[in-house]
Amino acid sequence: MRAVVCSAALWLALAPPVAAQSTEAEVEKYRKMIAEDNPGELWEIKGEKLFMQKRGSKNVSLEQCDFGMGPGVLKGAYARLPRYFADADRVMDMEARLLHCMKTLQGFDHKAALKTKFGNLNRESDLEALATYIAAQSNQMPIDVRLEHAKEKEAYKIGETIFYRRMSKMDFACASCHADQGKRIRLQDLYNATNKTEIDRVMSGWPAYRVSNSTVRTMQHRLFDCGWQMRLPNVEYGSDWTVALHTFLSVSANGAKIGVPGMRR
């Protein structure tokens, strides 16, 4: 029996609708539709394949990577990140640790591994897929970032300091946009990092499928992108600056139940 697919709900990438008042209702409806089937799940599937694949000059998979709970333990590892790693003598978030394992276990070159760190319409990103898979192994578990090691405590304080640090050509700090309640840039709602409910919601959903970018985005990308808008030079992937901020934000969201991939505009 031939029939054009008539009852199919085709998902189209919509630009934000025009009317300001009904905009939020429409975007909410659209987000609910997409949230029920998040394209980010495809990145999770891709990430699992990449994780198990023998790659790099050493032709080894990532299965023995230690994300903080021992080599090969993924369940719950993301929930405990960022944390201190003795073998690198620094605090690392999930992506910094992933890069570390790609270099040390798999023999990837640092710069080469990061060439496609952020995907776009013209290229896919392995890192985004891997990050989605790794994070998803902590789904339903609470964010549980502990400040035990001296460097972990310091990372938190550095992150907090940076969060409020006004800098660069537009006098912005992270707090300029993310420490007030109920504000928005153009039509994009801004979350308030000092509001527990909001920071919980936001941090429990990274990595997230970002509709406007047609790909999954991670915390490293978010921090990179904010820095871009703040007129800062591009920050290095997995660097201390990013890990410090990530530590501060994650600790603020401790207890929030992880649900990735999330969904973003």
């Binding site: 029996m1 031939r2 029939a3 054009v4 697919v5 009852s7 199919a8 709900a9 085709l10 998902w11 189209l12 990438a13 997409i34 029920e36 089937d37 998040n38 394209p39 799940e41 495809l42 599937i45 891709k46 394949k49 319409l121 013209n122 047609s214």
Partner: protein, 103 residues
Amino acid sequence: MADPMKMRATLKGDTAEVRVLMSHPMETGQRKGPDGKVVPVHFIQNVEVKLNGKTVIEGQTSQAVSRNPVFSFRLKGAKAGDKIEVSWLDNKGDKNRTEIAIA
């Protein structure tokens, strides 16, 4: 194509609500790539749904559908254990398929 597809089917009475996530660039042929040249059309043209091996939906889609589309539809007369297969064919001749049994 090795890119994943993901299907979910929930049974409500004798109707299965099915959702399929597909990975596909769905190029419209309007976009310019990084080299400044137009990226050629590349989109899913046909979608076929089979219930227990029998074709129940055959659809033709165009490049107007966006990247990584989600198709959802209802199948009446479905029951637990039924096999649903969804396959697609794109304008370059690439194919992909996935199959689940209704729980």
